[in-house]
Point group: C2
Chain length 655, copies 2
């Protein structure tokens, strides 16, 4: 049987299985799956070098299905090939019968690719559109660094190609000349609500790709030979320029009764499905004269399955690092920005652990990730993403899937740009570290467009659930000084999962030294009093310290707790609150729903009587020339803190 006929036959098998599993599930996107049947068949049976018994093999080629809703096609191929999945933690060779469990609660066959539910063939959870090509780019970057020769294929929907992140990824692939990543645009002409825009037509996409600098091949996405030729073209030795494929396809290929604009995300009913399968079979017979015994070789394995695991050394202490890199004077000055200490920690991590990478979005001289990037020994692991944050986080997911530990930094405000990507990273189980500088309002002069204000509320929400590793979905870490920033950066690297480090712009006094250990989930009592527990973190610790002195003058014996981690040990907090007569005053330089709510949650759940008052930003800030001025504007000056804490005790500070 010819290659062409064999692929047609496989595509029809995959399409049939896709139809059947969606009909069984009562939901899903069979017509999208059918549009990529041939592409998936050529990839998974012929072009990709991978191991069905070990689909997560780090040297095997990868498929990122960016249009995640088309996943039945891949499940079908895995079942047809008998690839291994993990079912309730046990390895199982997938077979066609298993496909009937699509989207069931105890099935790893999720509605969209979901590696942590058991399909390790995939590296990343997809389904929120537009992210896959960036993940593929991260995988490609790691493969280049690791010299594994693995290739990454990424299938992107035409409607999905409208997401700006796709162009961010294309620029990134060009910047880094990732000739080992192949974007494949699946142009089936229909989105959910209607036809795909002319801006995403095959012709326009091809023109755009060429303008971006790619070799773009337009093919019939149901012609096995054309697909094979394009993939072979991508795999030629010595490719010097990135390539992309634009595949013209038919949504609901092979089954005329399911084609057209009204079939997005609709399975055939159990009644219809036999008729549609008959149509598919008819299509197959027209194409191949016979479908009976279509066979094809099993996929080729990767050239090598050997992977070198770099060894890790012990990481230097803050003092050692500052001495080593001629910053002893700065250390002795006793004043340093947390973001600068982050840069030093990142550099120390880079030297101690070859898996640590630094990723930034054109602000490395503000976040201080450039301390890593400017080190000649580390610069190969520094990734400049330019001003494209969405792409940055998904590249981080790809790096993480390849075993790297990416620290992705920008201003905290601009992290917002990638919140959807970060949530998908958490869903993917990615070991990704998010670092935001210039947090809160203390940056002052640039104004609210550069200030992160609801960021803690968002990140802490993930801390209220448990991720696939059994840890909080995210830790929010707010170091108050350089020692804390250094310690927490190291702690982030030790932890497997997502965490968010929030540094701020101004230089601040060091309040800690080598005697304090910082850990995820930790807190530190800075002042022990008995009248009121002031709880704060980050920059505001310094303002609270001044407020403590004011309160002392009023005869109030206040405690100060540096609650630098969310989530935290709630019992310990409650003990401290009880030691302060149940009076708690939380101070933060961002909007509410954040640190203060975390404290309120703990106190309100206890059933005891506490009074938790919150001082936070309650207006949209604007530019001010310095931190003091904006703290006054937002009612967060140390005098406001002292007045508020005193009032909580019924004491009028000015009386």
């Amino acid at each position: 049987m010819s290659f062409e006929n064999a692929i047609h036959a496989r595509a029809i098998v995959l399409d049939t299985l896709s139809l059947e599993m969606c009909a069984e599930s009562g939901s899903g996107h069979p017509t999208s799956a059918m549009s990529i049947g041939h592409l998936v068949a050529v990839l998974m049976y012929r072009t990709m070098r991978w191991l069905p018994d070990n689909p997560e093999c780090k040297t095997a080629d990868r498929l990122v299905l960016s249009e995640g809703h088309a996943v039945p096609a891949v499940y079908a191929a895995m079942a047809d090939i008998g690839a291994t999945v993990h079912w309730n933690g046990e390895p199982v060779k997938l077979n066609p019968d298993h496909l009937k469990t699509l989207r069931e609660a105890d099935s790893p066959l999720d509605g969209h690719p979901n590696p942590k539910e058991g399909i390790s063939f995939f590296d990343a959870a997809t389904g929120s559109l537009g992210q896959g090509l960036s993940v593929a780019a991260g995988l490609g970057l790691a493969a280049t660094a690791d010299k594994t020769g693995r290739k990454t294929y990424c299938i992107i929907g035409d409607g999905e190609a409208r997401e700006g992140q796709i162009t961010e990824a294309l620029d990134f692939i060009m910047d880094h000349n990732l000739t080992n990543v192949l974007p494949i645009f699946n142009c089936n002409s229909y989105g959910q609500a209607g036809a795909v825009s002319k801006q995403q037509s095959p012709e326009r996409l091809t023109a755009k790709l060429e303008a971006f600098g790619f070799d773009a091949e337009t093919i019939d996405g149901h012609d096995p030979n054309a697909i094979k030729a394009a993939f072979d073209q991508f795999n030629i030795q010595g490719r010097t320029k990135p390539m992309a494929v634009v595949a013209k396809t038919i949504k609901g290929w092979g089954a005329p009764s399911m084609q057209g604009g009204s079939w997005h995300g609709k399975p055939a009913s159990k009644q219809q499905v036999q008729d549609v399968i008959a149509e598919l079979r008819q299509t197959g017979i027209q194409l191949t004269s016979s479908l009976a015994t279509a066979s094809i070789a099993i996929p080729s394995p990767p050239e090598s399955t050997q992977q070198t695991t770099p060894s890790s050394n012990e990481i230097m202490s803050f003092k050692e690092a500052m001495e080593k890199w001629d910053m002893s004077t700065l250390l002795q000055s006793g004043k340093m920005a947390t973001r600068r200490a982050y840069g030093v920690a990142l550099r120390a991590l880079g030297h101690g652990n070859k898996n640590v990478w630094a990723v930034d979005a054109d602000v490395s001289n503000s976040t201080f990730s450039n301390v890593f990037g400017n080190d000649a020994e580390l610069e190969d692991r520094f990734v400049e993403c330019k001003i494209a944050e969405q792409n940055m986080y998904s590249v981080g997911v790809g790096l993480s899937a390849a075993g790297k530990i990416p620290f992705c930094s920008t201003f905290s405000k601009f992290i917002t740009r990638g919140y959807d990507q970060i949530e998908m990273a958490i869903n993917s189980g990615a070991n990704i570290k998010i670092v935001g500088s210039h947090s809160g309002i203390s940056l002052a002069a640039d104004g609210p467009s550069q200030m992160s204000l609801p960021d803690i509320a968002w990140f802490r929400s993930f801390g209220t659930m448990t991720d696939h590793h059994g840890n909080p979905g995210c830790y929010v870490l707010q170091p108050a000084d350089a020692w804390a920033a250094y310690g927490l950066t190291l702690a982030m690297a030790e932890h497997t999962g997502c965490s968010y480090l929030r540094t701020f712009r101004p230089d601040v006094e060091m309040i800690y030294d080598e005697s304090t250990t910082f850990e995820l989930g930790g807190m530190e009592v800075l002042t022990e009093g008995r009248d009121v527990l002031i709880v704060s973190a980050g920059y505001m610790i310094h303002e609270c310290n001044k407020a403590i002195d004011e309160l002392d003058r009023l005869g109030i014996d206040a405690s100060l707790l540096d609650l630098y981690s969310l989530p935290f040990d709630e019992d310990r907090l409650l003990d401290l609150a009880n030691e302060n007569n149940g009076n708690v005053f939380v101070v933060e330089d961002n909007y509410g729903g954040s640190l203060g709510s975390a404290v309120s949650d703990a106190c309100a759940a206890s059933g005891d009587a506490f009074t938790v008052e919150q001082l936070h930003v309650r207006r949209i800030p604007k530019s001010c020339r310095n931190p003091e001025s904006i703290l006054k504007m937002c009612g967060l000056h140390y005098t406001d803190i002292a007045n508020g804490a005193a009032l909580l005790l019924g004491v009028h500070a000015n009386s």
Copy 2:
């Protein structure tokens, strides 16, 4: 004096003022401002038709400065022209002396464009990069609809052009053939941390623009005649195709000592500034032989300042709307999805208020905004953005600035894609309505990539502060049934500011009727008990209703509160909690830090003893075939609710 010399002279005045104001402020981006001095001069003194006395005039041409950090150039032009700003609410003609207050706490001259601080020349707060062109597109769309003939100019940085949202906006401009919007790319070659990528070089940008379908003109951005010619070209009568300008510029133009890659975001010191001004003066003399009395005509006014304000009618009631549109049977069935009721409300609003627009991102048949779009009388006000959420929200900001009331809808999960844009919308004071369907976990089958889980935590954070209108920065609204969805949609339209309506996928029973009025900040007691107050919202109300019956069987007299709005009347909640012995049990189908934290915040602040327990999603969900199955998986089934509430009272449900 020739036009050319006059523009050179003006550019040098603007550059000088930019330098001086940043030196005075001690921060800012003078070199970026100097790179657009000529572009701004030609725009503001010659090409744009606007009224310095009335810069917000709705028929005047608009300038959206997407690269907001270059704003000193515009402030300088406004001061040179004597345009009106609002200083502490009072109109003031800006003069060069005022510029010294740049970035001061009581100055409207914010670090980045900030219309709500007093510069109504701008329509939107910018500074978080990549958003301006979408705002300009929204303005252009409204101008087309209003037939005002106004043009919108948008200056975009070359580094900024990397943001994917820019390509989303370019596609949108092409889709809607917005020939009244001119993107101007300012190619000054330097970003913050280094040189701009070759992917954003003038040559590459021009090629990309052409591939997107634009007429692209590449010019010397410091050549007055070339700039004028390009703008005239844009303004030719009968333009049939969108146009874009790629301007090659010099960062720190005219002052060699401030050029190159190390000057981003750095002002000259007060000592340096005179030397740099001397360089600029020298440049001016070389170009024009004389700079002494360069003068230029004041800007031209718009052709007309007349604007028609469409009248509003009373909006139909839900019952009237359902009857009018032949849905009486559905109403009588007593079961309907909240998202479907939203669609009906939107349609009724569209008929009653000509300013209401519907905006969607290729899922209008899921969000039901297509009920609006499919109405022949309304379809002109339905905007299909395709799969590009970032662009959608910023288009909404532009529509709002033009006096429209945009309802922007997609799946709640995909709203995350536009969180940064929504925060900037709130900073802009935009009257924007955010609507998310398929919220929480009740959509079940599609899995976590389609589920909104930390969304309430994020949106509610804005509800903890007061916006420029004096209202909560955002209301979070969770209707439990069709009546509530209808009522809350109407309430959103009445309110000026941002609000977030969260609908869900399944059909649910109607629990309200015409006797209930829904309002922002409201709540509704559904069951009055005395043992425990169950607080919930949205889909979970129905599960809680079943739990109430279970509890009744256990002899527990539970109350059920539909807390459909955040923020809410906290005193009323505390009264209800007290009427239930201080026992509060909050139930929600999303991650924590959300409704439960809002309740904890109120209870913990009161100083009284309450027990607030929270039942929320504590794992990353996965696909399940139906809501019941996923509720069980996430511990949110009505039996879990009943057990949890009983345990709070020390009652073991199964004992």
